[in-house]
Amino acid sequence: MGRRWHELIVPALTLGVAMAYWLQVRGQARTVVLVPLGVIVLLAALCLAVVWRESRKAPDRAADRRTPQAAPGARSGSLPEQAAAWVKRHRREIGLVALCLGYYAAFQRLGFHIANLLFLWLAFPNSGLRWTQAIVYGTLTAVALYAVTELVQLNVPTVPWL
């Protein structure tokens, strides 16, 4: 069971959302809560069934090796070591997600076009392109997107001086 804890991530997340949902709607009229309550009860039962099934399974090393996030040897060591190894293996994906969150912040403050430019300048190197190439391709792509949004007159946020 200990080595299959990652199988419980999705059930745990869904159950967490379901609990938060229930906290907001409890005590409301019957028509408001009837269907959500039925779904939450069913969801909780299914989560329990998944947990029960996983707890009955023996640790499956072969299956662990097949999962994308588990390179050979990744399951050895303590939990912090495993986490560090996982972060190292997925640094590019983590980098992309961080850049996307940064894009969201830049989008609101600097507008679509500047956010695109900054995102592309950083995302290309994160994907494995050299910095000089990233500046060139990033600028070209951002200009192309600017042209497209102008052409179809898409209402995107911009900074006052653009």
Binding site: H6, E7, I9, V10, P11, L13, T14, V17, A18, A20, Y21, Q24, V25, Q28, A29, T31, V32, L34, V35, P36, V39, I40, L42, L43, L46, C47, V50, R53, P68, Q69, R92, E93, L96, V97, C100, L101, Y103, Y104, F107, Q108, F112, N116, F119, L120, A123, F124, N126, S127, G128, L129, Y137, G138, T141, L145, T149, V152, L154, N155, V156, P157
Partner: protein, 502 residues
């Protein structure tokens, strides 16, 4: 049942110059994407969907239909050239297509494949035109109880058949149902599951959710590879050989007809899928062949069977999608979402309320089927190159398009964050084998299921679900679709164990 005015209206819509242009554009994009292994038509449809909102609804729907149809045929290109199916439905194409390519007859195999695909798709499209209105008329008998049961049946089919694990399928379907009930409830106007976020009061916006689940999650996986396809393809240069392949395919008349019939029938069953259709057609072709020993070594007869069947399945699958609102695959789920977003609501009243649109879709399917042969052959060799574009260029550019797509639906910056959150959740689902199409379908059908459930119990209490024969039949089918796949899997594993023991 067959309204001549609606049929003519459908044809008139289609043969507008602008509409034809978008049909060609959709066809071209579907062809590119179908030729890329691992990046299927559902992913592209998810990315393109917000941009189609800039188009006239008819143009958008026609483009999406053409994209859907051409992607199925183009999936055979990588299956033949590099032994990797471009779409799940073309898995069986590898059995005969790749051996032919290894013999240096790649162009011949492409010719056979496209001719068979065209015949299969045309058969499926014409059969759909004939059957869909009949099924639509039958579906008019559905009241709230039947509609509720139909929705539940659709979810049960997709949750149990689109993954290997029914339990996980059901869990993710329930979660999809729950989050589909986010937003103000229709009866009292009480905000449910919004947590004070104003942007969620109208419910979860479908486009950012859909782009996140299918698009953003996919680019996270693309980062692991340097190119989408890693294996170099053997050359497929000779156009003469392509034409020879086409002529050869058309000589297998019985196989073409049998496989097209099998494919269409399997396609009409929600959730059965193109992979099943093509494997069944392949086994039948082998069984009836005078030279079964040549199968598996590059026999054109086998390639004709697989490719005519998988394209017929794709066309047949649109029948339950349009008339019952029951999609059986991620591509048809995306088609359903596209129609919803353009104000066209598939379901039992589809052939009453949207008759002209229905015929426009079905005729565009016929036209796209013909284009497979006309444009497929010259394009096949060149579009294959897309699979070799380095992902270090692809990922950042696609990411920006996803941001734009998520934002452009409602012009809320919040939708970008929502897209990222659902993208991460979609990636988790894919890693742990939770069927993402089931989640999406639950999000689409959830509000319809809830409103019909509440309406049904208000009319006749809980007993209303047991009062009509249709409702009981749907209930039994739901039980069958939930129990059947695990039982079959258990029986298969027992057979394998017994075989290994002997």
């Amino acid at each position: 049942m067959y309204d001549a005015q609606a049929i003519l209206g459908g044809l008139h819509n289609l043969f507008d110059l602008g509409t034809l242009f978008w049909l060609l554009a959709g066809f071209g994009m579907g062809f590119v994407v179908g030729a890329i292994p691992g990046f299927n038509d559902a992913n592209l449809m998810a990315i393109l969907l917000p941009f189609t909102l800039l188009l006239d609804p008819t143009d958008a729907i026609v483009a999406m239909t053409a994209l859907y149809c051409s992607a199925q045929a183009a999936g055979s290109i990588p299956a033949i050239l590099i032994n990797i199916p471009g779409t799940p439905g073309t898995s069986a194409t590898c059995l005969e297509g790749y051996p032919l390519a290894r013999q240096g007859r790649a162009a011949f195999a492409l010719g056979v494949s496209f001719a068979a695909s065209t015949v299969g798709a045309l058969f499926g499209a014409f059969t759909s035109i004939a059957i869909a209105p009949v099924l639509g008329t039958f579906a008019l008998q559905f009241g709230p109880a039947e509609m509720f049961m139909l929705g539940v049946f659709g979810l049960s089919v997709v949750s149990s058949l689109t993954g290997d694990d029914t339990l996980k399928g059901l869990l993710i379907t329930c979660f999809g149902l729950l989050i589909s009930l986010v937003g103000m409830d229709s009866m009292q106007g009480f905000p449910r599951g919004t947590f004070g976020i104003l942007e969620l009061y109208d419910g979860l916006p479908m486009i950012p959710v859909l782009i996140g689940l299918f698009g953003f999650s996919e680019i996270l996986f693309l980062m692991k590879r340097t190119r989408i396809a890693q294996t170099a393809a053997p050359g497929a240069r000779s156009f003469r050989e392509v034409v020879d392949g086409m002529k050869q395919a058309l000589r297998y008349k019985t196989t073409l007809l049998r496989s097209s019939v099998i494919g269409t029938m399997i396609g009409i069953v929600p959730g059965a899928g193109a992979a099943i259709g093509s494997f069944v057609a392949y086994s039948q072709a082998k069984q009836w062949s005078k030279t079964p020993e040549k199968f598996g070594k590059g026999h054109p007869d086998g390639l004709v069977a697989t490719d005519s069947a998988n394209n017929a399945v794709a066309c047949g699958a649109l029948v339950p999608t349009l008339t019952l609102g029951l999609p059986g695959s991620s591509s048809t789920t995306l088609m359903l979402a596209a129609l919803f977003l353009h104000g066209v609501r598939p379901g039992p009243r589809f052939f009453i309320n949207f008759q002209t649109e229905a015929y426009t879709i079905l005729f565009s399917l016929v036209l796209a089927s013909l284009l497979i042969m006309l444009f497929g052959l010259p394009l096949a060799r060149h579009f294959q190159a897309v699979a070799f574009v380095p992902t270090r260029f692809l990922v950042p550019i696609v990411a920006v398009l996803l941001f734009l797509g998520a934002y452009a639906w409602r012009y809320f910056a919040f939708d970008i964050i929502l897209m990222i959150v659902f993208g991460l959740f979609g990636a988790l689902c894919k890693v742990y084998n939770y069927p993402v199409p089931a989640l999406l379908l639950a999000i689409i059908l959830g509000p319809m299921i809830e409103s019909n459930f509440l309406r049904a119990i208000r009319i006749g209490g809980y007993g209303t679900f047991f009062q009509s024969e249709l409702s009981i039949i749907l209930m039994l089918l739901t039980a069958l679709s939930l129990v059947g796949p695990p039982v079959l899997r258990y029986r298969n594993s027992r057979t394998l164990k017994t075989g290994a023991g002997q």
